[in-house]
């Protein structure tokens, strides 16, 4: 089976002031990668004009583009409209669901969405007490359950989870530990570990580090732009050569 070259980036935070800048950096991506995964925080404020800039920058590439939204993309309560306009531009947007992309006959399944926080085993919030606390934790729990089902339903040769929030602490190293519960949740890792995946891509933690692993052994990569410092990073699956 042919190896897959996965380009990934997150936290591109596009706006009118950056129109055209990111596109220049990804021209020719088809020579380096088979698919581009974008792990949320596509915009700064989640406005429609910013969403349109994202659609322009990411559409019309010769390779498939799969994206999820991040917390910034929710800020103006226009998240669903941003999803719609990105989909209209030909971008596959995952909102707690899965999709399969066929690359020269190799089926790559990607499942995921924005994700959410809550913290990591032993130091996390519980569904207990005030309704606000319970709602916070329940949100992550419900997302994780939808991802587990989406992963299970994927009929693919390789599976990747695409998220904005982190599934592990490893890739948050460099961030203040006090804010870890706002950067991710172990429940996202638990869902991936339950069904299995080849790779877990996320962003959100600008001051974190690139590499980590889930408790079940799935490789985790934080591809936030300030972390990778490149227009994207390429990961090769199942092959000695790319």
């Amino acid at each position: 089976m042919r190896e897959l070259r996965i380009a990934a980036v997150a936290d591109i935070h596009l706006g009118e002031d950056l129109r055209g800048h990111y596109r220049k950096k990804i021209e020719g991506i088809e020579r380096r990668a088979d698919v581009l995964l974008v792990g949320g925080d596509l915009t700064r404020h989640g406005t429609i004009p910013e969403g349109r800039v994202v659609a322009e920058e990411l559409s019309g590439l010769p390779i498939p583009v799969v994206a999820v939204l991040g917390n910034h993309d929710y800020h103006s309560d226009r998240n669903q409209e941003i999803i719609d306009l990105l989909r209209d531009a030909g971008i596959i947007v995952l909102d707690d669901e899965g999709a399969v992309v066929s690359i020269d006959g190799v089926r790559l399944g990607v499942a995921g969405g924005k994700g959410f926080g809550g913290g990591f085993a032993g130091k996390c919030a519980s569904e207990f007490g005030e309704p606000e606390t319970k709602a916070f934790v329940r949100h992550t729990k419900e997302i994780a359950e939808r991802w587990r089902r989406a992963l299970k339903d994927l009929d693919a040769d390789h599976k990747i989870v695409l998220s904005h929030y982190s599934p592990v602490k490893d890739t948050l190293m460099g961030e203040p530990p006090e804010i870890y519960p706002f950067l991710g949740s172990y429940m996202l890792a638990e869902a991936a570990d339950a069904e299995g995946a080849d790779l877990f891509i996320h962003g959100h933690a600008h001051a974190g580090t690139e590499k980590g692993v889930t408790p079940g052994g799935i490789r985790v990569r934080n591809v936030a732009l300030p972390v990778i410092k490149h227009a994207y990073t390429v990961y090769c699956l199942n092959g000695d050569h790319c």
Binding site: D17, R44, H230, V234, G239, D240
Partner: protein, 81 residues
């Protein structure tokens, strides 16, 4: 003089919540009458906008804008998993 701890918290909140910035990743330190801003942004305009919002939230203090620009480089070496 206002407690530096609360000034820093106010500036940090302003940077996150002000529509001109919505920056969550900027570190704010206040020492006496000096305010230090550190972090990374992707263009010069954003760096200046952060300074403006911080200045409004901490009037009368001396501001040091130590924010750096992220240089988005061409993709480098791929990783084999």
């Amino acid at each position: 003089m206002e407690t530096p701890h609360y000034v820093a918290a106010r500036v940090q909140r302003a940077l996150a919540e002000d529509e001109r910035t919505t920056e969550l990743g900027i570190r704010v330190d206040v020492r006496g009458e000096e305010v230090y801003l550190r972090g990374q942004v992707s263009c010069d305009e954003r760096r200046h906008q952060i300074e403006n919002v911080a200045r409004e939230a901490a009037p009368g203090l001396r501001l040091h804008n130590e924010i750096t620009l992220v240089e988005v480089r061409e993709p480098g070496e791929e990783e084999h998993l």
